[in-house]
Symmetry: C3
Subunit: 285 residues, 3 copies
């Protein structure tokens, strides 16, 4: 039974997502179709990559992920299909895959060539569905396209580290449903650069000297009323292992979230300054 | 084939809901997953209870309902799994289950103990999914936790009745997609207190002396143009059997709904005053 | 395995959509349920028809489509079930089917009569689900209702053509997720009236003399920076084959879309004026 996911900027009102599902069931009646999201900001491939990178790994090996963001075929925007981390991706070659695959190389990439037989202004419906269902029936990448060695590389803004390795300068890459602000500073980079040193995180005029593991690490559960901690700000490594600035129990529609309350927006700078202690000079690299 | 529902405050853009579904399919490839909603207001367990209470009963016995609202594990927020009305629920012990189970006692409750083996900042993905899939494969509650006898009781504001049983004072507990305003006064309470007496419902400066069974009971279908009744206000027992103040054919985004047009908000008071008729004194209790 | 789609104005927060799915699985555990959309503007059957007309055709023959918009039973709003283009539809007889079926006649229509046994203020849950599941098990239309020959006809505003066949006057019927503005002028009508003549499309103070086949036909891919074309306005026959006024790579939430940038709203007029060339008089009709 093929498992196919959809990640698009179609929204959930128009007929697009429904039509794509109908077309899949038409080809593969027993497919399982999962909406990752249809709420990508139109044409935003950075958002697409952040969301799909954090979602696809939970799925079984062999899952087929269709990306329908900025997918119109053009001279500079080919359609590709690939095997990456034992998952299939069918997407435009617009850089999105380089952001998903930043740490792993695809096993195999093909440029989809079934277009030769299809003239379409809705490639997801006509081309991607056909490719996905072919793979879902156990077909091989070779049949839907010709193998290519390279694909378009567009990198998210990467965090920068100074030569002394005492400062990491990162950026906001995503704001989630709770208004929490997610940076491009991973736990891995933090640990590699910071080692065990003390640090100060600076986000606009706010500073943090501790990174939580859970949101409720800000709460003193011995307090008379734990609700007093609602609205506390904190730094945390989120479940995707990125540094996140959060407000405890925030609500964007009522009290606000970290993005609105702390004035942090997409692409804003967030830095970490490490404080070298005497003993730090003896820490092995 | 296991049937698993999801009720969360994740929204539909972030990767959370997609990741949870992937993890379920990874464990149980032939599961059926149904989104009840991901649009709960962040951390709002009253909303969660109202929605799930009215949705779960339509599902087959044995369905497994995962609640992902305010589910971070803490000293005061255990994770529980239970059998209630022949349905399974996996949720935080934050009071939500007491609002769903207000009229029925759970058959069996366990405190989930598989945490001993899992360190997680995304318990839905790591703990609830594992518990749900275990139950979905026919596993027993005893294996995922240790039996407990009590759970956190948090009650929605209950309607109050005066000593003479002539007045019910209720509150708005939910505002739906059409802007209709739902109170905590059930048809059952109304009938028990009111018997057959006449009554006046008061909602701010508006009054109603009749409760409809259908929205279009306000329409005179012999009228020249039935559209003249659009925008009429009415009191109705809704399909969940709660007293609702509605506007006929309302639209929150254009003409407005009962909440905006009548100025009724979450937790506002709505009262019913019963008028004792002579014969009422002979009505048996 | 029955395939059942849902098109409603329930939104995705309330319990309605979840309850309906539960009820379907209760009757037909192995059904496949697809949400076309729950985001129809309340009671808007024109939107419903546009969306479902463009979605249903991708589904396999025999799919059962439930329409839950303005479906409360009344003296003037019967419930019907029908076979159209080898698909089943279960819906209120409020005109929506006449807009979906504008070019095809239903094969068979029945007025649903199982109401005789059901008193309901939530007909989708109680009546439509039962009818759908009966059809999904291979049941016949005759059993759920009595055959009728006519149904309510409500037509979308049709484009008008002047007597000289030199001007088509159409209207905006839908605005999509990108803010693109869709008219009721089909490619078929355009070709029949316009033949090969030159033309000017007028939408408020904007004119277009070319209709694109792809959005990126506005882009010169030899340009130094193709992003300079973002925001260009264009006329296109969209994937549903209707004339659409679009902005290349628009985003309603940031830079705006055709609806906001060009000031085009639902029902606004868009006209096409054909320019008769000498040779046009010899073009065969």
């Amino acid at each position: 039974m093929a498992l196919i996911t959809l990640t698009t900027d179609f929204g959930t009102k128009d007929h697009f997502a429904g039509a794509v599902k109908g077309a899949i069931y038409n080809e593969l009646p027993d497919a399982n179709i999962v909406d990752i999201t249809h709420q990508i900001s139109p044409f935003n491939i950075t958002e697409t990559a952040y969301i799909l990178k954090n979602a696809y790994k939970s799925f079984p090996k062999g899952t087929i992920h269709i990306i329908g963001v900025d997918s119109e075929l053009s001279a500079t925007n080919k359609h590709i299909a690939l095997l990456l981390d034992e998952h299939y991706f069918i997407c435009p070659d617009n850089g999105v895959i380089s952001m998903i695959a930043s740490e792993i190389n695809p096993t195999k990439i093909v440029e989809i060539t079934i277009h030769d037989r299809i003239e379409s202004s809705f490639p997801l419906l006509d081309v991607f569905v056909q490719a996905a269902c072919f793979l879902g029936r156990g077909g091989s990448l070779d049949v839907i396209g010709k193998e290519i060695q390279s694909y378009k590389k567009t990198f998210e803004i990467q965090p920068k580290v100074n030569q002394e390795k005492s400062i990491i300068i990162g950026n906001v890459i995503y704001i989630d449903n709770y208004g929490n602000v997610i940076t491009n500073i991973s736990k891995k980079v933090f640990n590699e650069i910071g080692k065990t040193r003390d640090f100060v995180i600076k986000a606009r005029r706010y500073t943090f000297t501790k990174i939580m593991n859970r949101y409720n690490d800000v709460v003193d559960f011995d307090a008379d009323d734990v609700r007093q901690f609602d609205g506390y700000k904190l730094a945390i490594f989120n479940s995707a292992n990125f540094l996140e600035i959060a407000i405890y129990r925030s609500n964007l529609k009522t009290v606000g979230g970290a993005s609105t309350l702390l004035g942090l927006d997409y692409r804003d700078t967030i830095s970490i300054e490490f404080i070298t202690k005497e003993k730090a000079s003896f820490v092995p690299v």
